[in-house]
Amino acid sequence: MAQIRVEALNKSFGEFHAVKGASFTVDDGQFVCLLGPSGCGKTTTLRMIAGLELPTSGTISVDGEDVTMNRASARDIAFVFQLFALYPHMNVRRNIGFPLKCEGIGAAECDRRVVEAARILRISHLLDRSVSTLTGGDRQRVALGRAIVRKPKCFLMDEPLGALDTEMREAMIQELRALHDRLGATTVYVTHDQLEAMAMADLIAVMNNGVVEQIASPRDIYDRPVSLFVADFIGSPAMNFLPFRGSLQAGAQAIRLGDREVAIPTAREALVESDLVLGVRPEHVRFSDSGVVRGEIYGSEYLGTTQIVTVTTSYGALKARSPASMPFQIGVNVGLDFRPDTLSLFDQGSGRAIRTALYEGGEHG
């Protein structure tokens, strides 16, 4: 298995600058997700690591060896695509064994490794079935099997669960992560689904417009977003943003929102008066008659254990996550408070997060 190092990677397609100076390291055995909306450059980055695209500039090394200009076949990686491209006329056994056959590996060894891969993926009972009779989840397991048998240095996966329905996807998320824990293979995984990234990754690299905006553990990405984009992209429902105008002293422990004071994590920088944004996660909104923001209940969404309550306020619609047992009436006027130690502040113009005490407890700076 292997360490992958990407340095100052750039890729342009004509006028379009798809990847801009991406640098990150995937340690041996790590599971890293490249996460972002469509068009952010995540798939292009993955394809460059695979050798399916050549970078315009920058380097890619695997285990210290520069492979930037190596052909895909010389990189010892396995690629799993969103669309399970299986051979419809072959059964499961032959589909999984196909890459080995291509490498000229003997029948006995080939069979041993196919059986081993099928056992790991728990599809041993399907080996002699035709792939066209399989469910979506089983087809994707076969596609994974075809990657596993080769025992590559690393796995590169491009939205492998994108074509599955919700339930199957949730089951496969757990399976993929358990598989990773068993094999310990270095994995780079591309997705636009934050839930997949949060549930599986050791590290998430959030990409936007070709730039890696933040690379950190799922927990840090969620609790300590470094930009408005990251804060907005991660979390469902999304973080609430309250725009306001204000200035800030280093050491300040509160901001003024309208005519009320709102406690925040201690500010570590000073700002002249400018357009700022207060970021509040829905689970950090509390209902309180003396709340700093008032509004009207617009609707609530029952989720079993919890519910999402939407409140229209002068700052726009704010969402709160509350216990499902709490009754709410549409149209009722309510007050909202925010949990101080979890709040983020952003500079509206640049989108960057203001440095506060919140960012000091992070696992990755």
Binding site: D193, M198, S236
Partner: protein, 335 residues
């Protein structure tokens, strides 16, 4: 709007029994969601109501009238498909007005304009009315497709996964909007989805389907809190309900073979519970953390506080609090 009654409908395609003896009444102004995995028969049910498929047996009644052998156009239903098929050469306004301009309906132009503008406001696309359909984002296109159905006032709206092609953020916004619009219009909706969140947050009642059968129908809360069997219990709830051998805990009724334990049925303490389990993985999903446990060889997933300090290898103690019980066939049994 009207009441729609599906009476003992069955439909087979060759040897595959797609819908089996399904009966369901959708009340006037009700939002019913059919929930189930791919192949459960949800879409076929919807197509049977629309008249796009003919049942092998059974009947469909709309507003008291038997429409089983009527053509789709004579049923007064509006269908929203998963794939929005807009006319690319027409503007948003023209796309939405299209059905109202059909020769059989022929409404005054002023009325058409008023109706389209009203629905466009509901869907937040009023600024896009004069754009070509091809200039819209995916989310906007899907709203136009929904709008095209909403400008009509049919007996029932039939919607087949209308939000599944949208990204997660837009889907979340549209859920709330669609529910508001349904309440405002008093619309009757039969809605097909495999997404439990959509079903739970929007539906007045959820019908859970498996292999062509309607397993249970009830309010989201009834389905969540009182599932009739393990299949239904596993459809709702994140993390999924833990289905454990009854022997793992004391106190299960004698007929119970399986204990169904959701997060709210499991109290976790450092010690002092009934059984102990080992933490195998802590998944920090942001707003909450999923705690993966090993309970005597059985995997258990439950919620922990997002700030939990528990880590892999820690031993915790579990206590059950009014869990669900199921017999050997998976049917619910009383506690």
């Amino acid at each position: 709007m009207a009441e729609v009654e599906i009476g003992a409908v069955s439909k087979a395609f060759g040897k595959t029994q797609a819908v089996v003896d399904l009966s369901l009444t959708i009340g006037d102004g009700e939002f019913v969601a059919l929930l189930g995995p791919t192949g459960a028969g949800k879409t076929t049910t919807l197509r049977l109501v629309a008249g796009l498929e003919a049942p092998d047996s059974g009947s469909v009644r709309i507003d008291g009238r038997d429409v089983t052998s009527d053509a789709p156009a004579d049923r007064d239903v509006a269908f929203v498909f998963q794939q929005y098929s807009l006319y690319p050469h027409l503007t948003v306004f023209e796309n939405m007005a299209f059905a109202l301009r059909a020769p059989t309906r022929r409404l005054p132009e002023a009325e058409i304009r008023a109706k389209v503008e009203q629905v466009a406001r509901l869907l937040h696309i009023e600024a896009k009315l004069h754009s070509k359909a091809t200039q819209l984002s995916g989310g906007q296109m899907q709203r136009v497709a929904i709008g095209r159905a909403l400008v009509r006032s049919p007996s029932i709206y039939l919607m087949d996964e209308p939000l599944s092609s949208l990204d997660a953020k837009l889907r979340g916004e549209m859920r709330l909007e669609l529910k508001r619009i349904q309440i405002d219009l008093g619309a009757t909706i039969l809605y097909v989805t495999h997404d439990q969140t959509e079903a739970m947050t929007m539906a007045s009642r959820i019908g859970v389907m498996e292999a062509g059968r309607l397993m249970q129908i009830g309010t989201p809360r009834e389905i969540y809190e009182n599932p009739v069997n393990t299949y239904v219990a596993a459809r709702l709830g994140q993390p999924m309900i833990n289905l454990l051998p009854a022997g793992l805990f004391a106190g299960a009724p004698s007929s119970a073979k399986t204990i169904g334990a959701r997060t709210e049925h499991l109290a976790i303490t450092r010690n002092g519970g009934d059984v102990s389990a080992t933490v195998t993985r802590v998944e920090h999903l942001g707003d909450q953390s999923h705690l993966h446990l090993n309970l005597g060889g059985q995997p258990v997933v439950t919620l922990a506080e997002s700030e939990t300090t528990l880590d892999v290898g820690d031993v915790v103690s579990l206590r059950l609090n009014k869990p669900l019980f199921f017999d050997a066939a998976g049917r619910r049994v009383a506690a």
